[in-house]
C-alpha cells in the first residue's frame, strides 16, 4: 500500500487527475464516501437477526478435516433428534484462540468450543461466560475430576466432550524389530534414548510451533515435583528460581543429546512424519499428533507408554490429558437453545457419534460406548482412568498471557541454549511477577 504512492508510475495518474472535471471529482468523492460507509452498513446487517429460537449457532475451532466432519455428524444427530437447527461457524484453530477476547466481546455464537481448566476459568473470572450449573444437574457419567475442570468458583461453565492423553508414542513394529522395551523408570528411558540415538533413529523432538516441548516440561515437572507443585507453579504461586524448577530443566538436559537435531526449525507435523518413516524412535506427543500423521492402514502400529517415573514418591500418578468441550458466552442470544444443545452434548451418545468419526480422542463420559474403540483408544482410556491426577497442559493450566509471551520463548531459549538454567529461571520469575501482578478482569 505504502509503496504504491511512491511509485514513479503513480505520477502520471496524478497528472491525469488534474485534467479531470470537477463533476467527475465530486462523483468520485460520493463513491468514496459510499465505500467508506458501506462496510459499516453491511456489518450492521450481519448482526441484525438472531432472535430465531429454532436455530443455535456454534462457534467452532475444529478447522482440521477429521474433527470438522466428526462435529458435523454430531450436530446432525442433534438436529434430527430435536428438530432444531445447528448453524456452525468454523474458524481456523489458531485464529479462533488468538481472537477469543474480541470474539467474546463482539457477537459470539450461542455455544463455542474451548478448553477445560484454567484457560476456561480465566474467562469465567472476567465475566464473559454464562453459568450452566442447571445444565450440569442433568448430567451423569462425569467424574469429580472432570467436574472440577469444568468449575470456577463453585459454578459450572464447561461441558467436557473428549480428551486425549499425552504420553511417549512410538511404532510397535520398530520396538519389536530393534528389541526395545517400554521403560517405566527414567534411567531406563534415558538408556533407551541413548540406544535409539546409536541405532540412527533418535528421539523425535520439535518446538517450532512453540507448544510441543511444553508437554515434556510438564511431565518432568509432574514426575519430579508432583501434581500440586505443578498446579501452584502454573498459578504463579511458586518461584521459578526454586531449585525444584531448576531440577526440571537439569533433568530435561539429560535427554537433550539423544533428540533429533534442529528441533526449533521443525513443526510437530514433521516430527510426527519422522516417527512414521522410522527415522525417529519415539516422541512425547498428544494422542492425535502421531495419529493424524500416520496413513490410515498404519495407525494400528502406533503404541505408547506412560511418561516414566522419576521420583518414586510421585510414581506415574499424574497424566496430562487436555479436555476439549463447550462453553456458552455471556452474550449468547439464544440461551435456551444453547442449553438444550449442551444438555445433549453431555450425553454419552453425543460423544459416541463424534468418536466414530474421529478415533484420535477418547470420550469423557463413563457411559460412552467403548466397544468400537481401537486398541490405542482403549489403552488411552485406561491410562487416564488409572491416573490419580489429571493436568491439562502448560498453556491451559496458566494465564494465557504468561504462556504465550513468556513460556513459549523461554522454553525455546532453553532448547537453543540448555546450559544457562539459572539465567533462564531468573528471567522467567521476573516476568512472571509482572504479569501475575496485573489483575484479571
Amino acid at each position: 500500500m505504502a509503496q504504491s504512492s511512491f511509485n514513479p508510475l503513480a505520477q502520471s495518474n496524478d497528472q491525469a487527475g488534474h485534467r479531470m472535471s470537477r463533476r467527475n471529482l465530486l462523483r468520485g468523492a460520493a463513491l468514496g464516501a459510499g465505500a467508506v460507509t458501506l462496510p459499516a452498513l453491511l456489518s450492521a446487517c450481519g448482526s441484525g437477526p438472531g432472535g430465531d429460537k429454532k436455530e443455535v449457532s456454534v462457534g467452532s475451532n475444529a478447522s482440521d478435516a477429521v474433527p470438522k466432519e466428526a462435529y458435523a455428524a454430531a450436530f446432525q444427530a442433534y438436529e434430527k433428534k430435536s428438530g432444531k437447527k445447528v448453524k456452525v461457524n468454523t474458524k481456523d484453530h489458531n485464529d479462533f484462540q488468538e481472537n477469543i477476547n474480541r470474539y467474546l466481546q463482539g457477537t459470539p455464537d450461542d455455544v463455542f468450543m474451548w478448553f477445560a481448566g484454567y484457560r476456561m476459568q480465566y474467562f469465567a473470572e472476567k465475566g464473559l461466560l454464562t453459568e450452566i450449573s442447571d445444565v450440569w444437574k442433568t448430567f451423569s457419567g462425569f467424574s469429580d475430576a472432570l467436574k472440577a475442570q469444568s468449575t470456577h468458583d463453585g459454578k459450572q461453565y464447561f461441558v467436557p466432550y473428549y480428551y486425549y492423553p499425552w504420553a511417549v508414542f512410538h511404532r510397535k513394529s520398530l520396538f519389536q524389530q530393534k528389541g526395545y522395551q517400554q521403560p517405566t523408570k527414567w534411567d531406563d528411558f534415558i538408556a533407551l534414548a541413548k540406544q535409539m540415538q546409536k541405532d540412527g533413529n533418535p528421539v523425535a523432538f520439535c518446538d517450532k510451533d512453540g507448544w510441543p516441548a511444553m508437554g515434556t516440561f510438564d511431565y518432568i515437572n509432574l514426575r519430579l515435583n508432583g501434581y500440586d507443585f505443578h498446579k501452584s507453579l502454573m498459578a504463579g504461586e511458586e518461584s521459578w528460581t526454586d531449585t525444584k524448577v531448576k531440577n526440571v530443566f537439569d533433568t530435561w538436559r539429560e535427554l537433550m543429546p539423544y533428540y533429533q537435531k534442529g528441533a526449533l526449525g521443525r513443526t510437530w507435523e514433521e516430527a510426527g512424519q519422522s516417527l512414521q518413516q522410522r527415522k525417529t524412535g519415539m516422541a512425547v506427543f498428544g494422542m492425535p499428533h502421531p495419529g493424524t500423521q500416520f496413513p490410515e492402514n498404519e495407525r494400528d502400529d502406533i503404541d505408547f507408554f506412560a511418561f516414566p517415573e522419576i521420583d518414586a514418591q510421585w510414581g506415574q500418578d499424574a497424566v496430562e490429558a487436555p479436555i476439549d468441550g463447550f462453553l456458552v458466552a455471556k452474550k449468547a442470544k439464544n440461551l435456551t437453545g444453547a442449553k438444550g444443545l449442551l444438555k445433549w452434548l453431555g450425553k454419552p451418545e453425543a460423544e459416541d457419534t463424534y468418536l466414530t468419526h474421529d478415533p484420535n480422542n477418547v470420550a469423557v463420559n463413563s457411559g460412552a460406548d467403548t466397544s468400537h474403540y481401537s486398541a490405542l483408544q482403549k489403552k488411552s482410556a485406561q491410562l487416564v482412568s488409572q491416573a490419580k491426577q489429571i493436568s491439562q497442559f502448560l498453556d491451559r493450566d496458566t494465564r494465557p498471557d504468561f504462556a504465550s509471551t513468556v513460556m513459549i520463548q523461554s522454553i525455546q531459549d532453553f532448547i537453543g541454549n540448555p546450559k544457562d538454567v539459572d539465567g533462564l529461571c531468573k528471567s522467567i520469575e521476573r516476568q512472571k511477577k509482572t504479569i501475575f501482578s496485573q489483575p484479571v478482569g
Binding site: A29, G265, E270, S427
Partner: protein, 303 residues
Amino acid sequence: MALTFPRRAGRRRRRFTRRDAVVLGVLLGIPILLDLAIVWGPTLASIGLSFTAWDGIGDIHWVGLDNYRNLADNYPPFWPAVCHNVMWLLFLGLIATPFGLFLAVLIDRGVRFSRFYQSVIYLPVVLSLAIVGFIAQLILGTDQGVINTVLDNHDDPIDWLGDSHLNLWMIMIAAGWRHVGYVMILYLAGLKSVDPALKEAAAIDGANERQTFFRVVFPTLRPVNVIVGVITVIEALRAFDIVYAVNKGRNGLELLSVLITDNIIGEASRIGFGSAIAVVLLVVSLGFIVTFLVQELRGARER
C-alpha cells in the same frame, strides 16, 4: 508526492465562489476527517494506553511508566527485537538496495537477454512477504527443505530456520530477494530517463566509466534515490509478515512489530504493554520521517 512541491510565488491569487469553497471543504474535509479518525486517533490512543495495564475487557489501570520500565529491563525479547530491526534496516540499506542498483545498471547497459533478467528479478515483487516466508520454509526446512535434502545431511541437519544465530540472516536474504527486484525496477526507470547527452558530455570531458556514473549519473537520480531510501526504511520498520509466517517471530526472529502483535492481539491481551512497544516503534519511525521531511523541505527550498 514530495517531488511536486507547490511553487507558491508564481501563483495568481483568485477569489473562490461559495460553491468552490463548499467543494473544497468537502474534498479536503473528508480526507482530513479520515486521517484524524484512522491515523491520529489510534496513535493518540496507543500513547495513552501505553501508560496503563488493560486486558481489553475489564477496567483500565493507570500504571505510569511501569510498562516502559518493564520493557527495557524485564522483557527479554525487546532488545533483540530492536537490534533485529536495525540489522534489517542495515541489510536492506547497505546490501540489498546497492545490489538492486547494481543490477539496474547492468541491465541498463544492455546485457544480452536483459528483458528476461529484468522480468525474473522483478518477479518476486508480486509476491507478498508472507508467501516469500512460505517459500523460504520449503527451501530451508530442517527435514524436508530443498537445501538439506540436496546436502543429504539427515543425521546432523543444518537448522536454517531454527538456529537463532542463522535464521535472521536466512530470512533477511529471503526478504532481500524481493527488495532487490523492487529497487532494481525503480532505478531502471530512473536510469532510462537520464539524458544520454550528460554521459556523452562527461566522456568528452575525459571522465572514465566509474566517474561518469558516480559524479554525473547518480546525482541526477536524486528523486529516485529519495524514493528508494523511503521504501527501504518503510520495509525495514514494517517487516512482519515474513517472520510471522516462518515461526511467529520467535527464537531469533523477534521484531518490534511482532512483539506488538503478540501482546495486543491473541489471548494474552496485554494491551497497555503492547501499546508501549508500539510507541517505541512510533518514535523510531518519527525519527526517520522527520529527518526525511526536513531534508526534503530544505532541498525543495534550495532548488
